[in-house]
Each structure stands twice: as structure tokens, then as C-alpha cells.
Symmetry: C2
Subunit: 309 residues, 2 copies
């Protein structure tokens, strides 16, 4: 099985209460690819970068079975750059710089060799581009997952977002975005409303408070692992989505029960991501460390109650 | 087995986005007694009220096996009264009125008939009074649980709070209070610090985000049930504590594993509490409804992962 993801590959400069970085490699598709690469045999990326990009970082992904032939390199142009500073609570941040650069001309083209991807994960970009990607697919993938954000829920972009929502299977957004998209404060009501917009599954990411998976009248909750230190939250949501999609791809099972497992694996991947700056922790991660972490999740929520009938 | 609780029995006037009440019966000990009465054979209350109190409400508790002989009635005095207004998010509220009234002269006296209580749950009151209660006990109870709040962590009261913490087994506070008490932002670090202050167990209540139980190097997480509507959050924390303590009392088991179950039962009781104003929902609750609700908690977090060794 293989996974196709479309999204940003970028430079970030991050400041947290624990330290700050120079330009390091980031972007949604980068984190997605790292998260998925521990499960999927082949991860196909479509993105755009400038000729200033650090190609050694892409080689690390190639070594993990990630196909980067769909990343367009624009000569004489600069890569997308984002800089932000996190507050002490690590849940809020100020954006310091957003230089869209090559992202302004991003026109995603799906290479022929990517056409057989079983799962498609559309990272958080303009819904017009997400739609453009879906329209290029010759066969419908087994599963289409879409990540988006509040920016695309403003009047300018919402009609296109609603269009693309009709074509997908799983939507991943955070709690504030679920409230904004649905106009409902209660997440249960928000989920009911959103599940009428197209997606069959809704994942609501609540950061340090875990994630909820809604499907028909079912709801599953996965906690976030309580960590001693959250060093850098950048990319946690994308790494989660990558782990989630990668696990589904590897296990060849897109049932609700398997999505629960995929959410636990995604949460485990996110819990590693935040332990160091950028993708650093993911670069040194082993499969046994992932299994150990998943075991911690099992222990965290495990209890035995004998119910009376 | 029996349970002793000491705390406020009061009048509340509550305004939420869904409606408002006149003076209704509230107070920490009231909610604790309601929560515990579905499990404990006997709940003993120590509190103080004025002669303006609604005695019919106390009779309802008596009918549920609650001993109210330890509630002192001060003639010619008024009961403690609190009035508050919740914001749309239901997590924040403004206090409109706090009339301490009889609470100003509260001097808790433990009746002889309460001396054999197996579990003691000290509701959120002045730590000087909590200490006074413990000093009156002829034998150490099997388990002492203490609830408190940020107000008692200010310099005036903190020395007394630290004194009483040395004498208890379980502390229940919310996430902001855990951070304030420990001076640590990370809840894992906060828990480590607090577990050196006296309590062997720490329950961190996170409202709609669930609850964490820390014990030695173990941590257990119980989610809150995602609800369509939270109607009135008043008393949810106390109802949780009452259900938690009542379940431990009923099952005669204060092990870590049983505390996990007790947290699930406490969370179930709290989830009912918030569905109507004040104690209304608790008045009509059946044991089968509680079992049904606990089943929802099991389904909410249940997943099966076969771990590689």
C-alpha cells in the first residue's frame, strides 16, 4: 500500500520558552511524511520548494521510503518560511513572519507514478488546491483524509472548502475549527453537523487534551500522553495525521475499529514530535520506541469494570 | 462502610446561557452527598446552615441514607449564598454574590456517631477547619480525601493548607490549582511535586477534558463524556468527588486499580450533574442509568491493540 500527501515543505524558525532555532525544515507535508514513514512502505509527496532548500533533509526522508519526485523545485525562488513564538502554555503562539514565497505559485501536479496511492492525505493548504489534487486522480483512492484550518473557513474560501468536504472520507481539525465550521459550541453537536457536510469520519484534535473520533453515532476518545516537557509543539498535528494515515495504510483496514488504533498510533507519533525542535526526535525514532509509547497509552486509559446487565 | 464529608450546604442562584434559577440548594457537601449516596450505605454530613434553609431538600438526602444530624442549624442566621453567571464556554464564570453568612462562624463538630466513618472526604473549605476535623477523629480513617481551591493557596492560608496536606491520602484539585500549588506548568512535574507534599494520590480534574490520577510513577486518565449540552456545571467537581469516594467506600478497596474504577464512576456522576440545574438530575437518577453511563465511558475509550513484545 502507499500514501499520497500534498502540503507544504518549508522552513520554520521557532521560539519556545525552552529555546529558539534558526531556519529549520518544517511544513505540513514534511511532518506528515515523517509520521507516516514508520508505517507506510511508500509515502508520495507533492509540494513545492525554492532552490534555497536543504536537500539533505529530503534525502533523510528518501532513505525512509519517501518518494520526493513530486516536490517541484523552483529555481531562483525561495521556499515558504514561517516564524513563530510560543507562549508559556505552549497552546498559543504568535506568528512573527509568514513569507509565502513559492507557495504563491503552487500548482500541485500528481505524477503518474503516484496515481496508484491507496490513501490520500491532503495537508492544510488552500481548498482550491486540495480540489485540484482530487480532480487529477484517475481512480478514487480507498480513503481521502483532509486537514484544514480556520483561515479557509472565512467567507473567501469557505465555498471551496465545502466543495472539497463533499469528496472526502475523514476530516481532521481542532476543536476551535470544529466550532467555527459548524457554528455549534458543543463538540457533539458540531460533529453531527460536520458529518452531514461530506466526511464520514471526523477527528477533532484537542492538543494536550487528546483527540475525538466521530463516526455515525459512535465516538472514540484518545488522550494525549501527559509529558514532563513539551519542547516544541510545531508539527504535532501533522505528525499525528501522518501516523494515523500511515497506520491505516500499513494495516490495510479502514474500519472504525482500526481507525481507533490508528488514532492511538498517531497520538504516539505526535507525542514524540513535541519532545524536540522540529523533526529532530522523529529522525532518531525506532519502532520499538513507538511500541513502548503505544504501551504507555494502553496503560494510561486501561481499567476493568464488570458491568451489570 | 460509611463516608464522612464536611463542607458547605448552601443556596446558589445560577445563570447560564440556557436559563437562570432563583435560590436553589447547592454547596459542596450537598453535591458530595448526592454523588456518594448512590454507592455508600451511609453518608455523614457535617455542615452549617441558617434557619432559612429548605429542609425538604435535606429530607430528600435523608431518604437516600444520608445522616444530616451533623448539620448545625443557626437560628436567626442566614445560610451561605453564592450567585454566579457562566459564560458561553461554560468553563468560565463570574461570581455575582458571595454572602458567607453562617459560614463565618462555622466550627465543625464531629458527632460521636460519625466517628466510625471509614472514608473522610473534606470538601473545599478553610484548611484550618479541615485540620480541625481531622484532629477530632479518634481513629485514623482508612482513607482521607481532600478537595481545595486556589483561594487557599494564597500566602494567608497556604501554611495551613500545607499542614493538612501532610495528613491526607488523596488530593483532588483542578489543573490550574495543581500548577499554582506546585509552581510547575507541566502537569506531570506538578504531580511529582505535589506527591511529595503528603498525599499518596493526586486527582487533577480538567472539567470537559477529563481527569488524571497520579500515584507513584503511574498515571491514569479518564475522559469526560462528550455531551450534547452542558446545562449547568455547578457542583460537577463535588459530585465527581462524591461518586469517587462513595464507590471506594462501597467496594471496600482503596487500591490504585480500584481508584481508576472510582474515577470512572465519579466522572459518570458528574456527567449527570451538569445535565440539569443544581441537583435536579441527581434526584431522578437510577442505578441502571448510572451503569448505562459507565458503559458509555467504557465504549468511549475502548480499543484493542496487540502489542509486539
Amino acid at each position: 500500500m502507499s500514501l499520497l500527501t500534498v502540503g507544504t515543505v518549508a522552513f520554520d524558525a521557532i521560539e519556545t520558552p525552552f529555546g529558539k532555532t534558526d531556519k529549520i525544515v518544517g511544513g505540513a507535508a514534511t511532518y506528515i511524511a515523517w509520521g507516516a514513514s514508520f508505517f507506510s512502505k511508500k509515502v508520495n509527496i507533492v509540494s513545492v520548494i525554492g532552490d534555497d532548500f536543504d536537500m539533505k533533509e529530503l534525502e533523510l526522508l528518501q532513505n525512509r521510503g519517501v518518494d520526493i519526485s513530486g516536490i517541484e523545485i523552483k529555481n531562483g525562488k525561495k521556499s515558504f518560511f514561517w516564524s513563530g513564538k510560543y507562549h508559556l502554555d505552549m497552546n498559543t503562539r504568535d506568528t512573527l513572519i509568514t513569507d509565502l514565497n513559492v507557495l504563491l505559485e503552487f500548482n500541485p501536479i500528481i505524477p503518474e507514478s503516484y496515481q496508484s496511492s491507496d490513501i490520500v492525505l491532503l495537508g492544510n493548504i488552500d481548498p482550491n488546491l486540495q480540489l485540484k489534487v482530487l480532480n487529477q486522480l484517475q481512480n478514487r483512492p480507498k480513503l481521502i483524509i483532509l486537514d484544514t484550518m480556520n483561515f479557509w473557513m472565512t467567507p473567501t474560501y469557505k465555498p471551496q472548502l465545502m466543495e472539497v468536504l463533499k469528496k472526502i472520507d475523514v476530516l481532521t481539525i481542532n476543536d476551535a475549527e470544529a466550532r467555527e465550521l459548524s457554528g455549534e459550541y458543543s463538540l457533539v453537536k458540531a460533529a453531527k453537523a460536520i458529518l452531514t457536510m461530506g466526511p464520514k469520519y471526523l477527528v477533532i484534535k484537542k492538543g494536550e487534551h487528546g483527540a475525538l473520533l466521530f463516526y455515525e453515532n459512535n465516538v472514540f476518545f484518545a488522550p494525549a500522553l501527559p509529558l514532563e516537557d513539551v519542547f516544541d509543539p510545531t508539527g504535532a498535528g501533522d505528525t499525528f495525521a501522518g501516523g494515523f494515515a500511515g497506520y491505516l495504510d500499513k494495516s490495510r483496514d479502514i474500519s472504525f475499529n482500526n481507525m481507533k488504533r490508528a488514532i492511538i498510533y498517531g497520538s504516539a507519533m505526535a507525542s514524540f514530535c513535541v519532545e524536540e525542535f522540529g523533526t529532530e526526535k522523529l529522525k532518531t525514532l525506532s519502532h520499538s520506541a513507538i511500541e513502548e509509547r503505544v504501551k504507555s497509552f494502553v496503560e494510561l486509559v486501561q481499567f476493568d469494570i464488570v458491568l451489570e446487565d
